[in-house]
Each structure stands twice: as C-alpha cells, then as structure tokens.
Symmetry: C2
C-alpha cells in the first residue's frame, strides 16, 4: 500500500471506529476484552448487500455468535449459515425463521440433522455418500447442495482439502441424492478465507463453472449456487471496498453460472471483523540475550485466548499503542500462557515502539471475527476472552 | 517398538485402564467426553515420587486443573506449579498450602503478583529485567529463580524460544534481583515436552550445568534447581517406566548440579495423561474423489474442542474402535468444525479399520493432559469437552 492510500485508509478507519474508540478510551479493563459496535455490522451488511444484489446473505454464524449481532441481523432480514445444532438453536432463539437458516456443515451428527429437520430447516450441505444417507434418513425429502473442492485459490488463507469433493464424485452424488429421495438443488464452494480482491475469484469460478455445466448437461436442474465466504477484512493489506467487491463477484457469478435462480453468499469475517477491537495489555517486554536485536513482547491475550488465527502468521492484526509516535523496532509477539506454541508473530516480526513496556494498553484492530469463540475455556487458568457490545 | 514389547504394553495398559473401560462400556455419550480415573493419577504420583526421591513434585496445574485431581494431589502432599492467578486460587481453594505453590509463569500481570504475594506465595520465576522489577514492587523480598533457555533438546516437542534467557543475561539477572532486594535462589529450565527417554536429558543438563557453576563461581549461593517437566506419556512410541525414568533423571541432576539443596520437578503430562480417555464418535467417513486411496475420517472432536496438541501432528494419539479386528487402511483424520485448519492427522495418515463408519465409537487413549483446558468455549456452536471423573 502506498503512503497516500494508507493515510486515506487511516482517516476512514478513525471515522468508522469513533464510537469504539470513545468507549474504550474512557474505561479500564482488567482482562482482554473484545468490544463490538453492532452499528458497524449493520453498515457493513448494507454495503455488502448493495453489491450482492439478488443474492441472499447467509451470515456465517461461526465468525461471531454474539447475541447482539444475531438479533441485529435478524432485524435486517439476513439469512444464516449454521455449523451446528447449537448455532441453529441460537438463530431460532433470536427470531430467525427456519426458512432463512441453512445447515452448512458437511459433517453433521445424525441426531442434529433430525433436530434441524423437525425445526423446519430445509437446506443441507453434503460432500459424501454417507452424509447424504444420514440426511435421507433424518430429513427425508430435504434440499441438498453438494460442496465442491476448490483446487485453485488466491486467498490469503486457502482452505485445506477438508471440505468438498471432486467433479466426478459431485456429479455422482447428485444422482445418489435423487435416488435417496432428496432434492439435489445445486453446489457450494469456498474460494478461501480473506480473498482480498474480487478478481481473485475468477480462476476458481472458471474451474467450478465447468462442473455446473456438466451437471446441467447430465440432466440435473440446478437452481442454487452457494458461493460461500471469502469476503475480506482489513488487516493492513489493501482490500477492495465491500460494495464494489461484492458487485464484481456477482458479475463474475452471473457470467459463469447460467440458471442459478438462488444465490447464497456466506460472509462471516467480511461482515463482522471490522466491527470489533480487542483491548489488551502488555505483560512483559524482554530480550532473550542482551545481544539480541529483537525484543519479545508478551500480551495478556494469545493463540489460546482469542488470537487463534495468528497460526502460521496468516492473519496479521493491526496493533495500536499509546506510544506509536516513538521510534519503532522489531518485536516477536507472544501470548501470556506457559505454552511454548503460544507465539503470535515470530517469522515476520512486528514493528512496535521501542518505549513499549509492561502495563501499556494495546488495541488490536478489526478483531470482531474468529476471536471470542476460538478462546479456550480456561487454558492456564486464564478466563475466556470477554465480550462487550456497545 | 517390537511386536513382543507392544503386546506386553497392551496387556499392561488393559490392566491399568480396566476401571475406565468398564465405566465407558456401560454408558452412551451424546458429546465428546474426557473420562478420568483419579486413582491412576495417584498411582503415577507414587511411581514418579519413588524415582524422584528428594525432589519435590510441583504438579503443573495447566495440564489438567480438574477439581478431583487437585484435591487428590493435595491429599498426597504434592506441591503445585501455577501459571496464573486462576490456578493459584484453585489450588488454595482445594487446601494447598501457599508454601507448596510456586508461580512459575515468567509472564505475570503485576496485580496477579501482588495477589500471590498477599496469599503467601514465596517463589516466583523470571527471565527478564522488567519481570524482576514487577516482582520487587509487588512481592518485595520474594525468592526468584531465573529461567534458562534450552538450546539443546531431544524432546518430541522441543519448546520454542519463548521462555528463558541465555547465560550472560541469566548471570546478570541474578545481580539485578539482588539489587532489587529479591532473593535469587537458583535456576529453572525445561527439557521439552514428551522427552521419551531419561538419557535424552543428558546434553541439556551438561550445557546448563556450566551456567550453574558460573553463577556459583560469581559468588551466588544457589540452592534451588527447578528441572521443569518433560516426563513422558505413552502415545505409541516406547517410553521408559516412570520410576526408573525419574531415578535416572535425578542421578543425572545430582551428577551435574552441586549444592542444589532444593530440587523442584514439574510433571504435568507425565502425571495425568494416562489417567484419561476421551470417548468420541465418528461423524463421517468419505473420500474426496472416488479414485482416492485415503479416506477422510471426521470425529466429533477436533483441534478446537480438545485435541489442540495434534498441531503439527507432534502428538500422535492412540485410537481404538469396535472394529479394530477388521482390515485396516490409511485415513486422514479431522474434527467436526467448519474450520479448514481443524485437521488432526494428514501428513502421516492413521491406520483405521476399512469398515469404520458414521456413529462408531472411538476411544482416544491417554488424553488426560492438555485436552479439556485447550477446548474452546463454543467454536462453531459446539460445547467444550465434557469431563467426567469416575
């Protein structure tokens, strides 16, 4: 990013987070705390929806299941992508219609499928014979979409091969679903988390549209395409603005997938990450050797208390301290636990003020997604990440 | 391990876990559950103590803070290594004497040091100037030991550079502690988690004893050596029996460290891992492609619900299924969440029965350590790992 863009972005960011900043500035915190501004979630919902047009937003609840977020999204008419019975129960309890909830995990407990079916959920995902058999028994006649594996990705965090199946298997599973009395309506896929530019979707979509066409050629009347998530949040590297990003993705979808009457999009990170800031504190600044250039900076939050996504140093959070005007130097950053794997950034150290010391407050920006729920119950006797909604 | 040793080990294991097996066999579980036999913790405590002789066992509470474990160890006269204020409060609430608790985390919140001091805790660890300054202010006159970095390790899970400092810094910190009015009593170190054979300690001890001697030559009257953990549990590769292992480690310690009046040992995994079994269930067995040799086996427990130590596939748990007599084939194993990083074993697949299918029970052996506390609060809407003590 150029300095100019960076300054513009900083000004925009400061305006967006004015309420969060005011709340945080006036309070002291005795443990790491995620502060959420649900108005920012609403603004981002509108921005994404403006670009997504006819597509339905199914919020990926796993990104952040805070009551206030679910309630606000229900009020806005959002749909929901649930990963478990627990998430379905949450959405229903906040007033979501079962028609607006899809059970998107390809790995489901049989009794949870039965629960979802009885609750009125009608759309399920699958990527394997055994999963279709479970759905056929416990949610007879349900609509299913087959998850495709994505072999081509330009995401910051490409997904593993855990989810989805290849072309031949997917086409075969459409037949299996029909034979089992299910309604095979289409496909789903995921371009990879944090796909920063809309054009990065193009190679994935080109590859997958061949499978879509082959299924239609084989006589399957596909009507649904679930384009998953991948919508980015700002972690320091330039990303496109949400409306133009979403509009460009939709234009690519329309060009590649003919006949897809229903489009589902599942933003999680892209909807809630920028609505939250974690307030943390420096526990210790040290050097392993008096000759070391790098300092070690230990925070009161680490990989096992909310910052799990620093694994592999893929997500590089933005840190702010009260000493940011001072000269900077390279730091290895780590969490407070006695676990030697609880290191945040080591291969690519962070620049932090040379004056930083124990007791200083550190704000971790854009941490509204995939933080509070990753937090462990009591690892090393530390409480889980606290969450406050303003 | 030879087949013969393996059979002997299996018989020994079956005898040890007879109570666990009987409990588990007679019940059904609707979510992943860790079942603990505290009598096995007691037996292992006696076995380790028989070898450790004059050393004090400080149980590393972080390995498993279950009430029943702490209560039993208090009754046995164990000491405790606490990582946080939360763990100190737990030990005190179960009747541990503050004299028997050390605050072993090198990264401590200032207010937690003050709490510990007021609670009567007298021994603290440190590896940096700033930490000593905090201790001097909030626990004036306390005993401190300086943690040394271990550059030489043969452990299955060598530690990162997160903890400890080098020789020159350690010697300087002894002086700093004295200048601050603290009582610098000795050193601590950690050979690395899961050090399977006692002789693997030798190179580490040889290197560290030079620092011990240099400190004494510089006029520091060191009286305490904290040898940390590293005591292994059985995860499929041969380990030495606990008493002979501990006795050999103590013999090495006595040979290398003259004048160490007090020896602290901090077993965590080595004390509680083999006292627990996780009862889990197969959610799905599938292939990504009809041409794939490997199956994917998805369990109802994964990296974010208790099996965090599968990261990097370092710890290879032992799985048992009701179909273990059937022909076996290679499996990639994964957890139930929608997180693509929630994969347990992929680089080195596991051998599991070809007949394995959704709904089958899977026992995960020797999972009493570092499972329940790593578990996330509600990732993907799944509840944390349940714990039952028999």
């Amino acid at each position: 990013m150029t300095m100019e863009l960076s300054a513009a972005r900083a000004a925009q960011q400061a305006e967006k987070t004015a309420n969060l900043d005011a709340y945080v500035a006036g309070r002291s915190f005795d443990k790491p705390t995620l502060v959420l501004d649900v108005d920012l979630v609403e603004a981002q919902y509108h921005a994404l929806k403006a670009g997504l047009g006819r597509a339905d937003i199914h919020y990926a609840v796993k990104a952040n299941p805070a009551d206030a977020i679910i309630e606000r999204l229900v009020a806005l008419g959002s749909h929901f992508d649930a990963a478990s019975r627990g998430e379905i129960e949450l959405c229903l309890s906040k007033g979501a219609s079962p028609d607006h909830i899809s059970f998107g995990n390809t790995i489901k407990r049989a009794t949870d499928i039965a629960f979802a079916h009885q609750a009125g959920i009608k759309t399920f995902s699958a990527d394997a014979d055994e999963e279709l058999e479970k759905i056929a028994v416990h949610a007879p006649g349900a609509s299913v979409y087959i998850r495709l594996i994505v072999e081509v990705s330009q995401a910051d965090w490409p997904l593993s091969r855990k989810f989805g199946c290849d072309k031949d298997t997917a086409l075969r599973l459409l037949d299996v679903a029909k034979d089992l009395g299910l309604n095979p309506v289409g496909f789903s896929f995921h371009v990879g988390s944090q796909t920063r530019k809309a054009d990065m979707w193009e190679p994935t979509l080109a590859a997958l549209s061949e499978i879509w066409d082959a299924a239609r050629d084989a006589g399957h009347e596909l009507t649904l395409l679930n384009i998953g998530g991948g919508f980015p949040a700002f972690y320091g590297e330039a990303i496109e603005a949400p409306t133009s990003y979403a509009a460009r993705v939709m234009a690519l979808i329309e060009a590649h997938f003919a006949g897809a009457k229903t489009i589902m999009a599942e933003p999680g990170r892209g909807l809630v990450a920028e609505a939250g800031v974690i307030v943390s504190e420096v526990m210790l600044v040290s050097r392993k050797s008096d000759r070391d250039v790098h300092r070690w900076v230990y925070l009161d939050i680490g990989r096992f208390s909310g910052l799990a996504e620093t694994e592999g140093e893929a997500i590089r959070y933005q840190f702010e301290t009260p000493r940011d005007g001072d000269p900077m130097g390279p730091c290895i950053m780590a969490g407070p636990s006695c676990d030697s794997a609880d290191v945040l950034y080591e291969k690519r150290p962070m620049q932090l003020p040379l004056t930083l010391k124990s007791g200083d407050r550190v704000l971790i920006r854009n941490t509204g997604a995939y933080t509070s729920t990753y937090s462990s119950v009591c690892f090393n006797g530390f409480p889980p990440l606290d969450v406050v909604v303003i």
